[in-house]
Symmetry: C2
Subunit: 418 residues, 2 copies
């Protein structure tokens, strides 16, 4: 019944319409652990920065009017009253004709409105000769000139970097509210799968998807809470999915979604809870059997078992939902424009994604599709830099044509423009 093939655009619409787009929750973390997390609050500063007028040179705090006419051959002469060290509360104030020694970072004493650099002064006992004039405010960082009380430092939804962490520290905040990482369950099915590290019996292969999906989930801000591999047995799949739905905010399965007699996931999902399967089968290549479900308000993405298809559909559909649940903007994959080095045909009537490698040739980026026979191969996928997209109604992308390449890896060298 639910086996009607949806178009790629319909699948994206279903994502928008049925799946959660808001963060799963909020928690408070130490600023030491905040880098890489997403702020869940508009952080306003409780104090001014600097918290006081601050000397930004080593020298003397003065009244600017006392040294207005000071010159190299006609120094102003002031009386020194003492000094303010960094971190000290000034006990002295500067009256007319006087100066107080200050160090870089020290609080300016009352009465002073500028600081003269030590290089332009000379001490003679208690007298201070000043050989250069200063203007009001010179060499002083005014209270609040960096950050004012009540100013918004970090907006809700900001991915926190060392710079934001620095601002939080600067205003004395020890913790910050961030969005919780969504808990993700990964369920891999397939009677042919064996865990890495175990002996490989005839006819079997090692489980790849559990590990590629686990790593990819972490990279987009999810927390893998449940990882399970089950046989193609309805009862085992059912139990595993129930546990996954209980323990996680979002569930990703791989395998068991084709139309063969042993591909049970959509059937089981539809029995588990309402609304169940939302769509099953998308007119894309690879990834046609991809299935979306909602069970107890938990999104379930049933991806194909073939490792390339599983990863590609993860990038296309699952990643944006996890990112939104983690409080991030679901930014699209980075993309570059490249010229394809041969004619590429799509699968008829399906949105086609072709993995490519990129190289730079005479200043241009050139995309080369992965050989067709190896398009499902894991090594080939690992060597690919990204994929190109061919529309359903497009006949082909011609040799020499420029097209968009969606990057699955960061292309450090290629992004660098010198």
């Amino acid at each position: 019944m639910f086996r009607k093939l949806s178009s790629y655009d319909e699948a994206l619409e279903a994502l928008e319409r049925f799946f959660p787009s808001s963060p799963v929750g909020v928690e408070e973390v130490s600023i030491s652990d905040a880098c890489g997390r997403v702020s869940a609050e508009d952080v306003k500063s409780p104090i001014s920065i600097p918290p006081f007028d601050r000397a930004i040179v080593d020298g003397y705090a003065v009244k600017a009017s006392d040294v207005y006419y000071a010159e190299e051959d006609r120094p102003a002469v002031l009386k020194t009253l003492g000094s303010v060290k960094v971190g000290e509360e000034p006990k002295i104030s500067v009256s007319k004709g006087c100066a107080v020694e200050v160090m870089t970072g020290a609080q300016m004493p009352k009465g002073a409105d500028a600081a003269v650099m030590v290089e332009y002064t000379e001490r003679r006992g208690e007298d201070l000769l000043v050989y250069r004039s200063v203007t009001v405010g010179e060499n002083v960082m005014k209270k609040g000139s960096d950050i004012e009380v009540g100013e918004t430092l970090v907006k809700r939804g900001t991915l926190l970097s060392p710079f934001e962490v620095g601002m939080l520290a600067a205003v004395g905040l020890k913790t910050v509210k961030v969005y919780k990482k969504p808990r993700i369950a990964i369920v891999s099915t397939g009677p042919e799968l064996v865990s890495p590290g175990e002996k490989l019996p005839p006819g079997k292969i090692y489980d790849i998807n559990s590990y590629t999906l686990e790593s990819s989930v972490k990279l987009c801000g999810g927390d893998v809470k449940y990882l399970c591999r089950v046989e193609d047995d309805p009862e085992a799949i059912r139990n595993s999915l129930l546990k996954a739905i209980h323990e996680a905010d979002l569930i990703v399965t791989s395998g068991g979604v084709s139309v063969g007699p042993y591909d049970l996931i959509p059937k089981v999902l539809d029995e588990l809870g309402k609304p169940g399967v939302i769509l099953s089968g998308i007119a894309i290549k690879p990834g046609k059997p991809t299935t979306f479900a909602l069970v107890d308000d938990k999104p379930v993405f049933a991806l194909p078992g073939q490792p390339t298809s599983a990863l590609l559909t993860f990038y296309l559909f699952v990643r944006p939902v996890i990112m939104r649940m983690a409080g991030m903007k679901a930014t699209p994959l980075k993309r570059v424009r490249a010229v394809v080095d041969r004619r590429i045909f799509p699968a008829k009537g399906r949105r086609t994604f072709v993995t490519v490698t990129l190289r730079r040739e005479r200043g241009r980026l050139v995309a080369s599709p992965v050989p067709k026979g190896l398009s499902g191969a894991i090594k080939t996928l690992a060597k690919a830099d990204g994929f190109i997209e061919i529309l359903e109604n497009q006949q082909f992308i011609d040799e020499g044509e420029e097209t968009t390449v969606y990057l699955m890896k960061s292309l450090d060298e290629m992004e660098v423009q010198t």
Copy 2:
């Protein structure tokens, strides 16, 4: 004695010459934890992938020669002998005139050299009608066609992504040797510093550097093992540095490096062990008092206390060393070309780094320097996108001139080219 100012290039040479460029060690981690780590070995495949000739369609394993002349109106008729399920060892072999049912992913039975898709066949009892020919190897992924035994899958020094993790899983490896993260100690000095979360007494400010440096160390692959703030007291600094050198592979300090009477770090470092201070004072702005030392073969970077200077000198000098100790290529900061929107003057005789914000204007990137009076402000730093570099012998960068901007943040939107 060691207060001779070094040029920026001399400082970089000293980094190359004196400081470790090799990883601190190797450890074995589960492939579940390997993403984001750096491979410490050339990983060779212990098996072939696929480990057997594998059907890549649902259909029938046949001898191609038996169906060479099959056509829609003249099917070949074969005898079915049974089936091979996914994950099973085939018990039957295919002899002339026979076919064995196979599912996608199943091991091909002996004797068969191609698979016919189920769509082009028809079962009539034990007979199988085949309506289309196949060539030898068609719809079969040959053993070893993805990965051959002994093939190098991952080279030493590779930053592991989900794709490499997938290859390791595919060949059955449960663990991988990766470079240890270097242990980093961070020591902040300054009598004016108070920890975030505590009450701020008059004259004091909150400690910023401990937190910005901690986050930055983590981002470039280090593991913060020791974090300490000390007063400007020679004995306390000495003890803290001794502990840091004992517990960490690399030490970063901030504050206490200027020439004032309370700036003690270089002096203490020089007494702690040989060779001690390597250089103290670099002709750069900001960051002039930056000091490099080696104590018991442990690199010590004594950075200025001013938060912008501390972070900038961290990026310039410390980050590459930590990256190399973590087994990574010390890639330079990403950079983009941008036009400056006003004339910018350097500090005389010093390599000058000016923080800038970037904006896109009529398709071009435009860099705007941070207002001079706020160049040390933490909020200003947080809003900056990167910095430009002005050479010692350069008079200025003129308004409208194109220059290189080193990025301190990832500029997602700006890197995207559509």
